[in-house]
């Protein structure tokens, strides 16, 4: 059943997120070369490709953590340059949860530190309801099941509004129920004018562009500095 979601008023401003001719070297090895992509509002991009073709590395580069060897990444919001680090949120295999905190404490600290503003209670409650965690609000996280932990990890996308979502295989170890919630969250985000890049193998039930990393593996000859 689709639980009731209040009409979300605020839409995201116009954004252009571009990466030109990205090439990354990791551990002395060229992972991929020459990838270009451009993302604007209301776009969902799937990353396909066999394991080891660098899906996670590409996401890490796009999130600004890993400097690309070649090419560059740029983000414009309302046509002027914006700081990448303030406008995107990343989900990877780790959940970012502290066992000793209760769920509410986790949300409280998360919003204060990452968003810089004190949390609005009704927004927190709304996010918990969307992810069906509201009955666990005051429970310490160390008693959560892995499914509940995975849903709690998705909280970070609802607690603060960031236009660009990067997700690295969000459906791994997730049951059908959570998969539907994830699809609904992504749909809401895209409808609000956000953008998302999801690296995944299986189908989430949302249509989007597909970028396959298989044909970006580095050419055999160019083995970098020491060749």
């Amino acid at each position: 059943m689709m639980n009731k979601i209040k009409k979300i008023q605020s839409n995201y401003p116009r954004l252009v997120f571009e990466a030109a001719n990205l090439g990354v070297k990791r551990g002395g090895r060229h992972v991929f070369g020459g990838i270009s992509l451009a993302l604007t509002n209301r776009t969902l991009l799937y990353l396909h490709g066999a394991n080891g073709t660098g899906k996670s590395t590409l996401l890490r580069t796009l999130s600004g953590r890993l400097g690309p060897a070649t090419g560059n990444i740029s983000l414009q919001i309302d046509t002027e340059d914006a700081i990448l680090n303030d406008n995107l949120m990343v989900l990877d295999h780790l959940n970012g949860l502290k066992n000793t905190f209760t769920l509410l404490e986790h949300c409280n600290y998360f919003v204060r530190i990452i968003n810089g503003t004190p949390p609005e209670p009704q927004k927190v409650m709304h996010s918990l309801e969307v992810l069906k965690l509201h009955h666990l609000a005051t429970q310490p996280i160390k008693y959560f099941s892995s499914g509940q932990r995975r849903r709690a990890a998705l909280l970070k996308f609802l607690l603060i509004d960031r236009p660009i979502w990067l997700m690295d295989e969000p459906t791994v170890g997730v049951d059908a129920e959570n998969r539907k919630t994830l699809a609904m969250m992504l749909e809401q985000h895209i409808k609000k004018g956000g953008a998302a890049i999801v690296a995944t193998h299986d189908d989430i039930g949302l249509k989007g562009e597909i970028l396959s990393l298989d044909h970006y593996t580095p050419k055999q000859k160019d083995m970098g500095y020491w060749s």
């Binding site: 551990g27 002395g28 090895r29 055999q220 083995m223 970098g224 500095y225 020491w226 060749s227």
Partner: protein, 241 residues
């Protein structure tokens, strides 16, 4: 920095320098030894044991000099992200650590005849001992991390932090030494270095610098080959898909 842009050019340059360095070593070392052991007069106070100074002081100088080489290589590695600068630190560290250990050993062997004990908590000896720990920490980081690139950059950060702290450590140890000053009879290098003591000291110092250049360049070529080998092995592995 771009003159060493690629490893092949660096290796060619190293091969040009090596024969000259070996030549300088072959000239200075025997002459330096001759001066140190045979020609120079024994000291009026310490007698012949002053001859240990002719290798103790140059080793301590080389220990400091090598750390400076490592620190500047680390700075280049962090500022320009230059792969050769990264491995320059790794190539120089073992040589520097050896010189530091030798400075400590010869210091102790010199202390025995002069002060009657092997180890004296003299300000200089203590700071050389701490410098030895800084070398150990630097080399330990290279070993501890599996990815060469991150290990190099982490070690460079440590070397820079170390070089900033070195004067502070040196000052605090000397200050500490004067605070607890045991009645040390003779200061290590005496009020002023007597003129004819200076001769052998400088020749030995030049010989040790030439030695450093030789082994440093060997170790640089060795590290370059190690990376080339790694890349080739990786390509063989990738080729099989």
């Amino acid at each position: 920095m771009h003159i060493f842009a690629n490893p092949a050019r660096f290796v060619r340059l190293a091969n040009k320098i090596l024969p000259w360095a070996i030549g300088v070593l072959a000239l200075c070392l025997p002459y330096g030894l001759y001066l140190a052991i045979v020609a120079s007069p024994p000291d009026y106070q310490q007698g012949d044991s002053v001859r240990i100074m002719y290798i103790h002081v140059p080793s301590a100088w080389m220990a400091m000099f090598t750390y400076m080489v490592m620190a500047s290589a680390s700075l280049a590695a962090i500022v320009w992200r230059h792969p050769l600068a990264l491995i320059a630190g790794k190539a120089a560290a073992p040589i520097g650590a050896t010189f530091t250990a030798l400075a400590l050993i010869t210091g102790a062997l010199w202390g025995k005849p002069m002060w009657g004990t092997y180890w004296v908590w003299d300000g200089r000896l203590t700071s050389v001992l701490i410098l030895f720990f800084l070398y150990l920490g630097y080399m330990a980081i290279w070993q501890a991390m599996d990815d060469e690139e991150t290990a190099g950059r982490a070690a460079s950060i440590l070397a820079l932090v170390g070089v900033v702290n070195l004067p502070i450590i040196k000052f605090s140890v000397d200050w500490w030494n004067t605070l607890h000053q045991p009645a040390s009879v003779i200061r290590l290098d005496g009020p002023t270095i007597h003129a004819d003591l200076l001769g052998p000291l400088l020749w030995m110092a030049v010989a040790m610098k030439a030695y450093f250049i030789i082994v440093f360049l060997w170790r640089m070529k060795l590290e370059i080959n190690k990376r080339k080998l790694a890349v080739l092995q990786m390509s063989v592995v990738n080729a099989h898909g």
